[in-house]
């Protein structure tokens, strides 16, 4: 790595004692010698193992659940269904008043994605829990499912989630989050060229070394200690408190050493049911995702579809950009309404474009609920935007890097979401990339600056 201190030296004070110093990490020796303790290193006498019975169907009504055989299985201590959960219908962003509550801790009457948790089995050993889970009999009536976002948005599509009433999240702005800036149609009318292109991504996995999980121990003082690898301690505690209808003071969360998160550990999935199990059995409980659960059950990054329509001049100026983004939330909201909204704020990218129109939709389908992941609401947008920039450059016969200089935002430029640009540095990054990659651009671009006089 090279630190190029010559850029922005006029606005930076260097020479501090501790900041800017490459101090060795205090936790490194523990990590590399195996001495660091993770949540799963907690082992308590009498600890029970929790395994989930999961839906084999993408969409089905539950006619009945028979747990009698599972309860008789040797080693089984308790079997939990929806009626054991005090506040079974929940949504995690309710903490910031983003509803409606639309998801169940354990399925109640219906499953909406293949893999949805239906029954929790607690046993003395992991194996007994697994074997007993296989003995739970659930009678399903399979319902038509929808997987494609465009199909889901059509009239007459199977309704994925009754708590929403339609297959998209209803914002206060309507069926999508909107950004309107300038007059996009007038921009297209004046453009020399129009280019409309569609981009698509697939769900991806966070792939942490350590899978999602927790260990819960009931304490003698009527409190529960939850050792967890959540990325958000109080967010998880407060949501667990709502789901369990248990005062937050009864809960003690201990975490903070996580084997990789990448956004995959901000859904509140394992902790509430494990605490409930510890409460109902009076015994320590561990609930740890298998690798298969981590890959197909825990939320992936959403698949997204992004349609970009640009109006560009022969000289490279983009005069209008219209973006329609679709985020595949799967069957439940989790963090997706937030991600789609964050996407609306991110477009049209780090470029100053006078006429912008953005619509971003959060769409429900019968698949594993997606949620946050590194680059949430932005990563796929950047893929679409930057491939589109390459296509625009080739369309007008311009160098792709030079096209970006022409449109790059600079200090003081008004963004589409009506915030003035501050602290821009896109131009300097491109100048350095031009040098480092030996990708020459015209001297006028190398002389540009993100600073603007008076800005």
């Amino acid at each position: 790595m090279e630190l190029r201190k010559d850029y922005f030296a006029d606005v930076r004070t260097d020479g501090l004692n501790e900041i800017g110093q490459p101090r060795p990490r205090l936790d490194s020796p523990g990590h590399v010698t195996g001495k660091t303790a993770y949540f799963a290193d907690r082992n308590f006498p009498g600890m029970l193992h929790l395994k989930m019975v999961r839906s084999p169907h993408h969409h089905a009504r539950i006619r009945s659940i028979d747990t009698s055989e599972a309860e008789k299985h040797p080693g089984v201590v308790k079997v939990l269904t929806a009626r054991d959960v005090p506040h079974n219908v929940y949504t995690i962003l309710i903490l910031i008043q983003i509803g409606p509550e639309d998801e169940t801790v354990l399925a109640d009457g219906k499953v909406r994605w293949k893999g949805e948790a239906v029954v929790a089995v607690l046993a003395e050993t992991e194996r007994a829990a697994q074997e007993a889970a296989a003995k739970v009999k659930v009678d399903y009536e399979v319902l038509p499912a929808v997987f494609d976002m465009e199909e889901a948005l059509k009239p007459g599509a199977p309704l994925v989630n009754e708590y929403h009433g339609q297959n998209y999240y209803l914002y206060d702005s309507g069926e999508c989050r909107k950004v309107r800036f300038g007059d996009v149609e007038a921009g297209f009318a004046q453009a020399d060229h129009i280019l409309e292109q569609s981009y698509q991504s697939s769900p991806i996995e966070h792939a942490p070394t350590e899978t999602t999980g927790c260990v819960v121990a009931p304490e003698g003082n009527d409190r529960f200690t939850c050792y967890t690898n959540t990325q958000a301690m109080f967010f998880t505690l407060d949501n667990a408190s709502i789901i369990l209808q248990m005062q937050g003071s009864k809960l003690h969360f201990v975490g903070g050493t996580v084997g990789g998160g990448f956004g995959g550990k901000v859904d509140v999935i394992v902790e509430p049911i494990a605490i409930l199990a510890a409460k109902l059995t009076g015994r320590p409980v561990c609930f740890i995702y298998s690798r298969e659960e981590e890959m197909q059950i825990s939320s992936p990054r959403a698949a997204e579809k992004v349609v970009i329509k640009d109006g560009v001049m022969k000289d490279g100026r983009i005069v209008a950009r219209k973006v329609t983004g679709y985020t595949d939330a799967g069957a439940y909201s989790r963090h997706s309404p937030y991600g789609a909204q964050k996407g609306a704020a991110h477009y049209p990218g780090p470029y100053t474009i006078p006429n912008v129109w953005i619509d971003t939709y959060c769409v429900y389908t019968n698949r594993t609920p997606s949620s946050a992941m590194r680059g949430f609401g932005v990563t796929i947008g950047d893929f679409a935007l930057e491939v589109q920039m390459d296509k625009l450059a080739r369309l007008i016969g311009m160098d792709p890097l030079e096209l970006r200089f022409i449109n790059a935002y600079r200090d003081g430029d008004m963004k589409a979401h009506r915030q003035p640009t501050e602290g821009a540095a896109l131009i300097e990054c491109m100048q350095e990339a031009s040098r480092a990659a030996n990708w020459p651009v015209a001297e006028k671009y190398m002389a540009m600056s993100s600073y603007r006089k008076g800005a």
Binding site: E2, Y7, F8, R12, N17, E18, I19, P22, R23, R25, L93, K114, F147, D148, S173, K178, R180, F181, Q197, Y199, Q200, S201, I204, A207, T230, Q231, A232, M233, F234, L237, L251, H252, F253, G256, T257, V258, G259, G260, R291, Q296, P300, P350, T368, V378, T379, I380, D382, A384, E386, V387, A416, R418, G423, L426, E428, C429, A433, A436, W439, S450
Partner: protein
């Protein structure tokens, strides 16, 4: 049939924080009797090294070496509230809270030192090595060890401080979308060079040159580990990964690392990292959040490089050999 070479570029920015939800984090700092400093948080270290960075931020602010700072975090019985570690917010939000708490503790420390030295607190400075001295008269000094002992056992002062950093929630305007979604933006530009085998559709990323502007590299070694890891993750996202290979079809989802493809050590590109620092006006020592954005620009850069190499656009992620071969076939047909 041939191996074809191409290169592509992408430039991006990235917002720090989750303004659209309201974004608070708190920190507490106190001194032990012998002048070590405890930072208490509930923020989570995901492995990126948050504890280390909070220690350095506290040390710089108080004016002691980093090894005199202990970070106690992610225990809800002791640590005050933090929204969580996501949205590239950890260093920025918690760092600001730690600075505020450490400043308050530092002020008490200087006041106690001033009483011991019989000078005004405003005339004192720290030497960064564990001592407090009179500005312009460094021979008149006292160790922080002795100041802490005095505060605890003689003067009855608590060398401690409270820190709170809140970005109030921004509500998007319904019709225009006017909003303040972030506090500051990090930037990047990546150039990727690839080879594409037009017989097998296989892509080899030869090298990526990443330029990142991150406000301030608080610990350059840790910045490097995060940026290199992010760059690899971006390449993996571009070319390998998905839980649903034929999305929106739900079949064929991988359930382990044999089926869910990621690049192995032999597949990693030569990776160059260049860092620029334009301090943000509201970040701790100017830092922005580089945690997420560093994995983004490689994806379009690789996609553009594939086009440059073989002349087909793969607008669907991941850019698999199958998709490339199908596109080449379509191109040849027509």
């Amino acid at each position: 049939m041939a191996i074809r070479r191409g290169r592509g570029v992408a430039a991006i920015n990235y917002p720090t924080g989750m303004n659209l939800g309201g974004d608070p984090t708190q920190a507490l700092v106190h001194s032990t009797p012998t002048g070590n400093f405890m930072v208490t948080l509930s923020s989570v270290d995901l492995g990126q090294g948050m504890k280390q960075i909070m220690a350095q931020i506290c040390a710089e602010t108080i004016g002691v070496p980093t090894d005199r700072v202990i970070v106690d975090t992610a225990d809800t019985d002791t640590g005050p509230h933090c929204m969580g570690t996501f949205a590239s917010r950890g260093t920025h939000r918690a760092g600001n809270a730690v600075i505020q708490a450490a400043k308050e503790a530092r002020q008490v420390m200087l006041e106690v030192a001033a009483e011991e030295l019989e000078v005004n607190a405003s005339d004192l400075e720290t030497d960064g090595q564990g001592n407090i001295r009179v500005k312009g008269a460094p021979q008149k000094s006292i160790s922080i060890f002795d100041v802490a002992l005095s505060a605890h056992f003689k003067r009855g002062r608590s060398i401690s401080g409270r820190g709170m950093f809140l970005i109030p929630r921004s509500y998007p305007e319904k019709e225009t979308g006017a909003m303040k979604p972030s506090t500051c933006y990090a930037h990047a530009c990546t150039v990727a060079e690839v080879e594409v085998d037009d017989e097998t559709g296989e892509v080899t990323v030869l090298n990526v040159k990443n330029v990142f502007e991150i406000g301030r590299a608080l610990n350059p070694k840790m910045v490097e580990q995060q940026l290199v890891g992010g760059s690899w993750m971006g390449i993996s996202h571009a070319l390998y990964e998905t839980t649903e290979p034929y999305y929106p079809n739900r079949d064929h989802g991988g359930t382990d690392f044999n089926q869910y493809l990621m690049p192995g050590p032999g597949d990693l590109a030569e990776t160059e990292i260049i860092v620029l620092e334009r301090p943000s006006s509201d970040g701790p020592f100017g830092a922005k959040g580089p945690g997420e954005m560093c994995a983004n620009p490689q994806i379009p850069a690789v996609a553009n490089a594939v086009f440059d190499a073989v002349g087909v656009r793969i607008d669907t992620l991941p850019i698999t050999p199958e998709r490339i071969l199908r596109a080449l076939k379509a191109q040849a047909a027509g």
